[in-house]
């Protein structure tokens, strides 16, 4: 195995993010400085984003049996890097300026953990090997345990961390068992070789067990029970990371596994995925209906959104892959925006995040622009035209109709209809005039801070992609998997 320069170029985004994590760690060891850690991480992530351009020229290339750098992986790498960057700026705002008015205790480690988690996500989106899948998944999840419980002196945060850790470890155990069965049967860990000769019962069992592990991380029904508690307990910027970067990584590797492995081409898997998708769409939307907590509402809505995404995966015709890319992009933007508003309203760190719906009552009369951002995000999550969410949903519906998946289409239409109700409920709350309720508020001048500017950009992008989606659609047409 020779590693040449072109391999290193293809691997550049991963290397840069890894180096940034090391730089932040050394910076903390040298002198604790919140500002410095933030600047190093931001610069590093921007450099990593830039390094995708040379990596595109080197793609597609296989770097050791573990990783396959192609347009698909680079697109999702970019998506993970952008969402990590957004979460970093939110974290910076959330931590506050001083220990007294903000997060008490060490703040710098959160950047380090987030960078390490992003490294794991990049490994996940480019892996074509079960060993890479497992290491990537663990590298993404282990820092998340620390991030979810970052405010460990808060009971909810600690509880969320323990729940997430135990359930995530259970999911990993299922995943490992499945991998062991697959390896025992086929003697190979490479995605495209699994099930190449003959698909036996053992292979099916292995794939099924792996699906359980991955569904845990994607919080698909019936493996979704941890989601609302963890989203609620985690600090708001960590919730944003959990909802965007981590889910993108796991979904990308699921797509690659299902598309590359011959063992997954059989009908039973599609039936199983269809059942999971319908259950996720209906359960996610129904449970979100009566939520009075914005973070929990967003968690249930993310369950439903991954149900929609499964529809495109099940269809898996030519348009399916494009639909997944478009929908994930729209979902990431929208989730970042929604969690961003929650973060800024909870800024600086207090004992409790502003996550109850009544904290937002009459927000419009106090912070009109922030309310506008949240309104756009809710419209986009509901899939109302002129927002990015509509384009994504339209794409998936078109894919489903094309593949004649009528049951799924029915569930999706029903789910969207229910969804509109609770998204609109949040919007009404924003505009209710309620004197004397000033528990939580974004700091004045939030728009001039890094987090606020990022939020404005996300909102603008959601609208622009809704009005003029052509650049995104052109882009995703080139994000196919290599070797298909």
């Amino acid at each position: 195995m020779q590693l040449t320069l072109s391999h290193f170029v293809a691997l550049l985004p991963l290397l840069v993010v890894g180096a940034t994590a090391i730089a932040v760690m050394l910076g903390i060891a040298w002198r604790r400085c919140h500002q410095l850690s933030f600047i190093i991480s931001t610069v590093g992530l921007n450099l990593a984003l830039l390094s995708i351009i040379p990596a595109l020229n080197a793609a597609p290339t296989a770097v050791t049996p573990l990783l396959q750098v192609d347009n698909f992986s680079l697109f999702y790498t970019a998506l993970i890097l952008v969402s990590t960057l957004a979460c970093l700026t939110l974290t910076h705002a959330y931590m506050g300026k001083t220990e007294q008015a903000g997060f008490p205790g060490n703040r710098e480690e959160l950047y380090l953990l987030m960078l390490l988690s992003a490294t794991g996500g990049i490994v996940l989106v480019s892996t074509q090997h079960l060993a890479g899948l497992f290491i990537g998944l663990e590298l993404m999840s282990v820092p998340l345990y620390g991030m979810v419980g970052y405010a460990f002196f808060n009971r909810h945060s600690l509880e969320a961390a323990i729940k997430y850790m135990v359930l995530s470890a259970t999911g990993s155990a299922f995943l490992l068992f499945g991998m062991a069965l697959l390896y025992g049967e086929t003697g190979s860990l490479v995605f495209s070789v699994i099930g190449q000769n003959a698909v036996t019962d053992l292979t099916r069992m292995g794939i099924g067990l792996m699906l359980v592990g991955l569904a845990f991380k994607l919080s698909l029904v019936p493996f979704h029970l941890w989601t609302p508690d963890v989203y609620q307990g985690a600090p708001a910027p960590v919730g944003a990371f959990l909802a965007t970067a981590s889910k993108v990584g796991v979904f990308a590797v699921l797509v690659r596994l299902l598309e590359l492995s011959p063992a997954t081409a059989e009908g039973w898997l599609n039936t199983l995925l269809t059942l999971i998708a319908i259950a996720s769409i209906l359960v996610g939307n129904l449970l979100a209906l009566l939520q009075n907590n914005l973070k929990r509402l967003l968690s249930y809505s993310s369950i439903a959104h991954f149900g929609y995404l499964l529809v495109a995966l099940i269809a898996s015709n030519g348009m399916g892959m494009e639909a997944i890319s478009v929908y994930l992009t729209a979902y990431v933007l929208t989730s970042l925006g929604a969690f961003g508003v929650v973060t800024l309203v909870s800024t600086p760190f207090k004992e409790r995040d502003a996550d109850a719906l009544y904290d937002y009552r009459g927000l419009f009369w106090r912070r009109p622009y922030l309310t506008a951002v949240l309104t756009v995000m809710m419209l986009s999550l509901a899939g109302i035209p002129l927002t990015a969410g509509f384009i994504g949903k339209f794409y998936i519906l078109a894919t489903g109709v094309d593949a004649k998946l009528w049951w799924l289409m029915g569930a999706m239409v029903l789910g969207s209809a229910i969804g509109v109700f609770y998204y609109l409920r949040v919007m009404i709350t924003l505009f209710l005039r309620e004197p004397g309720m000033h528990h939580h508020d974004a700091p004045t001048g939030w728009g001039q801070q890094a987090g606020g500017i990022m939020l404005m950009l996300v909102a603008a992008l959601t609208l622009i992609l809704g009005l003029y989606p052509q650049p995104l659609l052109d882009l995703v047409q080139h994000t196919g998997l290599a070797g298909l």
Binding site: A21, V63, T64, N106, T119, G120, L139, G146, F152, F153
Partner: protein, 168 residues
């Protein structure tokens, strides 16, 4: 070879069963060590002495001894045993155990329904072969594992800080 494998595998299963059912934590951990040693024996009989030795040194030796120390320091006395015994009522363990049994039967059925032709051979994989693989095709896995350890270390450091007590 075959006898050694099935013998140690059987011991591993029995010992693990006792880990779950034992009410005294220290005794349960001692059974767990036996289970790990038995798994190490399985590795030996399959011709992977390096993996077997690692299993003994890392799991049975380092991790479990640490575990036993911690549990002993917590000084869990007879009250915990009584509590555990109370929790281990048939009503509680019967459901999960029955479901697991169904899964076990299914797994065994699948394992034996496909015609098993492979036999346990004595081909041994030594440390050199493992090293060549680790620093050959799996080089990136080794590097990423180091990042994983760093992440675990930083998370543990943060969560275990003394302020955890003061602020709560």
């Amino acid at each position: 070879m075959e006898f050694a494998f099935y013998f140690s595998a059987g011991i591993a299963v029995l010992a693990t069963l006792r880990v779950v059912t034992h009410t005294n934590p220290v005794h349960a951990l001692l059974y767990f060590i036996i289970s790990l040693l038995a798994v190490a024996m399985c590795f030996f009989s399959l011709g992977a002495p390096f993996a077997g030795i690692l299993e003994i040194i890392v799991y049975a030796g380092a991790i479990m001894v640490l575990f036993v120390f911690v549990v002993m320091m917590l000084n869990l006395g007879s009250s915990t045993m009584a509590q555990e015994r109370q929790w281990l009522k048939p009503g509680i363990w019967f459901g999960p155990a029955a479901l697991s049994l169904v899964l076990l039967i299914e797994l065994l059925y699948v394992l034996f329904s496909s015609d098993v032709t492979a036999t346990i051979t004595g081909e041994s994989v030594d440390a050199k072969a493992v090293g060549v693989h680790l620093f050959g095709p799996y080089l990136l896995a080794v590097e990423l594992a180091s990042m994983l350890l760093l992440a675990a270390l930083v998370a543990a450091f943060h969560l275990g800080r003394p302020e955890a007590k003061e602020l709560s």
